[in-house]
Symmetry: C2
Subunit: 405 residues, 2 copies
């Protein structure tokens, strides 16, 4: 298996001013291309350190990707460092100077001479165009090894890496599918699938879980064993298909908006403890306006009564966090908004407000189309986690309702 | 200045399964303690690689912090790696075995023998207790240098680092204050403060900006020059005090909730393009229920009319994104919720819906207590950024209103 290393350059990383957001992206991409990443290093804007590290890493790997240090200032030393480490010259590419100045002249009236530093190219390197910023990347081959220089900002780095990644492929590329679940806990998923997942050695399995995306089951194999993975996915879906909400990058809120559009249905929410988080999550999907009517954030009990018509008696007898209350919230919301599907949430997000009968994390959700479907949950975590779980669980309830499961 | 390095251990980092969230935290903490972090390295769960890297880094620094590789499985090799690099023995600490087993017995019925690996201590090391998980840390002195072994999960690492950081202090610790602004752009702030910020060499200045926290001005100096920094802050506040919303970790929504409590005022929102984001942001502050009544997410124009009483004529003549519309939204909201202060937002978050007169990013915000205060903005960025800027700008308007500026 071919080896790779990632070298981040930038004193701002060593001072903790920013986090290295590129390393994880590159590591995961390089793995799919068939590389074993053996080391990730960060050094400062010090020429000597860069030169030494490039030499050291290049003696061990087939591919070295550097990030950062390609800007116009005197602190940006990655070009010089790599050139010196390889014993190659730097020259100014006049065509590049022209392009960079042209690009900048659209935004600035005065262009400092320092930008010409960005047009310095290492002998034998191929330019990697930067569609977002001014710092071009460079790629060069050295005795069968590849060195790729990319800028630091992820929004520039990612499209540039995408544009060259085909040329970095090994004979050993990987095939990967991620299956996503919200209503199935990680341990249960592993139990249910144990015989499928671990009866073979061709596909590696990783599970990850968090309260925003739920449980992700990541299956990876080499490209030539793609069919084995596909067959595995088929078997997995036979058992867990109802619970699967998406594949790879699909987000739960996107899936729900898509399903609502397909079914021609509209939706409205009445939110208490989530305080607008569910609405905000769905509104972040472009085109949500076709299916989302609006919400009432009924945080205060007076609002529950006055706007949603929750009865005084309900609040007194059962409290705001109760099955009866969320049902009345939904009915009031239906009258107010006229949406096809109404959903109401009321719960205790903490840190205060819990009781022995209703501890922090108790949440009621009601989904009302033709009839009520009310569920009680006990979520763990801090205030923010309980609110996020409540909102995401509501989306999962909507998805299952729309799918008819 | 003393030097430090950070060594992350874990194949999951090299495969891009998780991101290294500890590096930035440690780097920034180590800087305050007076260290210059010269290198951050990540290697896999390979004994040979760990040994080699520990030796290499220890030959260059006064303090080496390792993260990860302290779990109970055979993959967790940091203890062995450090011991071998230093030529020291590992022994099983029976007291630690007992403690770990006791802790686990509360949660599990069967405890695998592998947990005893976590009780292996490097000769001469001092145990660093783990208040959250089972993996203890270790700290040892080697010829005047310090090696600190910490576990990988940030929720365990952070309290453990906090518990030992006093003992890591150099004679050269730093003093740091971060000033936070939302209504002053980064370039303007630098212009206004240039003479104060750059007339001296004792305090280093860093500015960072994003659409959630706004502009942060970070001032750092050595502890003995603390008074110079404090004097600088005083001068800065003379010029920009009205714009300052918080210091260090204070968040804008926390400041607003605190001010509302102090003034004894309640607030309600009518949100269109933000779709509940403003409400959700304020609700995430514990105790928000004392000051936040509720909101109407009036995404559909029918909701603006029916619930908030926006006039048909207003929508036809001026459109939903207009000064007249947000004012009517606020008035309707006031009648509905009876809050002391009402705030309404309507805008175009994109990617579609823009026009030459009202391009994507056009947002109107109205704040209504006794009279209307309406502002029109042009925010740049994608849908998510425009929505976030709208919500945070609303909070800043509230803050300034409550402060009487």
């Amino acid at each position: 298996m071919k080896k790779a290393a990632i070298l981040g350059v930038g004193s701002e990383l060593l001072e903790g001013l920013i986090s290295n957001r590129n390393a994880q992206y590159l590591a995961s991409e390089l793995k799919l291309l068939g590389y074993s990443v053996i080391k990730i290093v960060t050094v400062g804007d010090v020429l000597e350190d860069i030169v030494k590290e490039v030499r050291e890493l290049l003696s061990k790997v087939d591919l070295l990707v550097t990030t950062g240090g390609l800007g116009p200032t005197m602190d940006d030393l990655t070009r010089e460092g790599v050139a010196e480490a390889l014993g190659r010259k730097l020259y100014v590419d006049e065509e590049l100077v022209r392009k960079i100045r042209e690009r900048l002249s659209k935004r600035f009236t005065r262009i400092p001479d320092s930008v010409d530093r960005q047009a310095m190219v290492i002998e034998g390197a191929q330019i990697v165009e930067n569609p977002v910023g001014t710092a071009p990347g460079q790629m060069l081959k050295v005795d069968g090894r590849i060195v790729l220089l990319l800028p630091g900002p992820p929004q520039e780095l990612i499209p540039m890496f995408e544009s060259v990644k085909d040329s970095l492929k090994t004979n050993n590329t990987f095939y990967q599918i991620t299956l996503k679940y919200y209503s199935l806990p990680e341990s249960l998923l592993e139990d249910v699938l144990r015989d499928i997942l671990y009866a073979q050695r061709d596909v590696t399995v990783a599970t990850m879980a968090d309260h925003v995306e739920g449980v992700r089951l990541r299956l990876t194999t080499t490209m030539d064993k793609r069919h084995i993975l596909d067959e595995m996915v088929e078997k997995i879906l036979e058992r867990t298909g109802d619970h699967l909400y998406g594949v790879n990058d699909e987000r739960l809120e996107e899936v729900v908006v898509k399903l609502l559009k397909e079914r021609g249905k509209t939706v409205a929410f009445a939110e208490s403890c989530t305080g607008g988080l569910l609405s905000s999550t769905i509104v972040n999907v472009p085109g949500a306006s076709e299916v989302f009517v609006g919400s009432v954030v009924a945080y205060d009990n007076e609002v529950k009564k006055k706007i949603l018509g929750v009865r005084e008696e309900t609040l007194e007898r059962f409290g705001a966090v109760s099955e009866v209350c969320v049902r009345e919230m939904c009915e009031g919301l239906k009258k107010l908004m006229g949406a096809d599907i109404c959903l109401a949430i009321s719960g205790i997000a903490g840190p205060t407000g819990g009781s022995p009968e209703k501890p922090v994390g108790t949440v009621f959700i009601d989904l009302f189309e033709k009839e009520h479907r009310t569920v009680k949950y006990h979520f763990s975590g801090d205030r923010n986690m309980i609110r996020t779980r409540s909102a995401m669980t509501s989306l999962e309830l909507l998805r299952r309702h729309l799918k008819g499961v």
